[in-house]
């Protein structure tokens, strides 16, 4: 307790009386230097935030009006002392192209294909997954269900699987001679070309994403269900509501903010799809029918090295995601009021 002693002031009685006086006044007395202490605690996060988040956000926008010619080598600042030398070079060698990068998107068929694929996956996958997650949450919330914790853990298990590793499982199961087709054929159904037809390869991604994220969303919905006041159900019962009616008129409306949250985060997640199509479909196969926006941005930037155009694409994606998030915040705010 040596530290405790060294912390103590010289005269305990004075200290105690001071403390009592302050507590009885009931207000927080200003401590000298408090205005600076806040900044000191904030400084490391603030510096990293500025360099690695604020700057890239602004710089991506700037880049989107240029054509990238190469990594910069123009010397901006050169300090050379006897002890150390430091040379700051420009970030990139650029030539200004105005709005060309944005205009080009209108005629870029691969970009249109990527938008279509992402939207297709979105429209099929998000409602399917949210519906499944809601059904599982309601089933697990039923009062008679035993071992609720065990089932919840099992259903949420896929979340902990590495994104790329789980994609390989689907790559394997969906082979022409894979497990899924074995099950289908032994049930007397035709085998499905999961990886070679453009429709079914998208459905494979839908299946993989649904498998991974349903349990995650179920946990969020389950927490929401447990916040619904029990009296509402009792009141509905007195009014003679059956199970379906209670679900329709109590559960769903009460869960609306949580459902919206799940919907919007899943939508944003779909816009960020990258590892699944890369691993399962080897980067967009067959015939670019599974290429997603982020994957297209990656190819444009780091395989073709058209960083300016890729920045413009990124900004379009950021705009889409921001609008969706803003919608979420607004709708969420309304329902709270």
């Amino acid at each position: 307790m040596a530290t405790r002693d060294s912390l103590s002031g010289p005269d305990p009685s004075v200290r105690d009386r001071l403390r009592f006086a302050r507590q009885s006044v009931g207000e927080r007395m200003p401590t000298p230097g408090e205005g600076i202490v806040g900044y000191v605690f904030l400084l490391p996060a603030f510096l990293l935030f500025g360099v690695f988040l604020a700057f890239p956000i602004v710089y991506t926008f700037y880049l989107s009006f240029f054509r990238f010619e190469g990594v910069g080598d123009e010397t901006l600042l050169w300090i050379d002392t006897g002890f150390f030398s430091y040379r700051l070079t420009s970030i990139a060698d650029l030539s200004f192209v105005g709005l060309d990068n944005y205009v080009r998107m209108f005629t870029d068929t691969l970009f249109h294909q990527a938008m279509f694929n992402t939207t297709f996956i979105l429209v099929v996958q998000v409602p399917l997954m949210v519906a499944l997650a809601l059904l599982f949450a309601v089933a697990l919330d039923a009062s008679f269900v035993k071992l609720r914790g065990v089932f919840r853990t099992v259903l949420a298990l896929p979340v902990s699987a590495n994104l790329v590793a789980y994609s390989t499982v689907f790559l394997l199961m969906m082979q022409d001679a894979g497990l899924i087709n074995y099950v289908l054929t032994s049930l007397g159904l035709p085998a499905i070309p999961w990886l070679t037809s453009s429709f079914w390869s998208r459905m494979t991604i839908v299946g993989a994403v649904t498998w991974r994220w349903t349990g995650y969303n179920m946990i969020i919905l389950l927490a929401g269900l447990q916040n619904i006041p029990q009296q509402l159900y009792e009141a509905a019962e007195i009014d003679g509501a059956n199970r379906i009616e209670k679900f329709r008129y109590v559960t769903v409306p009460q869960l609306r903010p949580v459902l919206l949250f799940v919907f919007v985060t899943s939508t944003i997640g779909t816009f960020k799809l990258f590892s699944e199509p890369v691993i399962i479909n080897g980067g967009g196969a067959p015939l670019d029918s599974t290429i997603t926006i982020v994957q297209y941005i990656y190819q444009t930037a780091f395989i073709d090295f058209r960083l300016g155009y890729a920045s413009a694409l990124t900004y379009v994606l950021i705009a889409i995601v921001s609008v969706l998030s803003a919608v979420q915040l607004n709708v969420g705010g309304e329902s709270d009021a």
Partner: protein, 307 residues
Amino acid sequence: MREETRREAVWQFLTYGFILLGAVVTLVPLYWIFVASTLEESEFLSSTDPTLIPGDSFFSNFQALQARDNVQFVGHVGEMTHYIDFGPFYVAYDFWNLWNMGAIESSIFVAGVYTILSLLLCSMAGFAFAKYEFRFKQPIFYAILATLILPIQLLVIPLFLLMSQIGLTNSYWAIILPWLANPLGIFLMRQNMRSIPDALLESARMDGATEFQLYYKIALPTMKSSLAALSIILFLFQWNLFLFPLVILDQGKYTIPVAINQLVGAQRVYYDQIMVAATLSIIPIFVLFLFLQKQFVSGILAGSVKE
């Protein structure tokens, strides 16, 4: 009345059936990946006779995986193919480089370092926002909050240019530094630290505690459960990062996702080796998950809080 109980029984049966079906569909792929890693490729890629019983080829598959020259999955003692550049931390340099790290160790190392540093930064920033008054506090806080909606993984292009500019390409710092000041982490810590009573801090101040002691002797210990939940969010975020490591890291420094991608991308796909790699990368996190279920669940829920 009997009609009523019979209906109830059918309903319960259907509910259990649905949950069990979900559990089976969830578990079969996970079990299958484990089974496939213990079989030879011809045994599990067979549409006529696949088996669900583990075989005994795990170690031969593992040796084949380790023998590949484009990916080092698990590290070994021996001739160094690359060094971890610790920058100024030369003391650690020789010790760490006795072991030639593979993708598994790289991932654990990077995610671990990231989690610890980010917890420190986020809790400090959260403490500042929750318990101090300073000029421009609200604007700064809302600026950080606004970036919550941005998918920060998308900022790879300027980050790539920035990293090549400051000489951090092919360095683990390149995939640790950019997301250290995690907006969600700062927000969560600020929300939770507001519940620390001012009187407690005030009386510690009068006992002569410095401001930093307030942070690590009072604020951090009372935030244990929030920190645990946040650490799971942070660890899984880094563990799953794929796009930026793929861009910035070279062969020999790959993390698990990039290493597995390297296996899949080859001309001839060796599924048996890929399944061993997938098994090895999934099992450690499953074990963590089973031990830390509560924190996982509160981590997921913490990520979904709205104000």
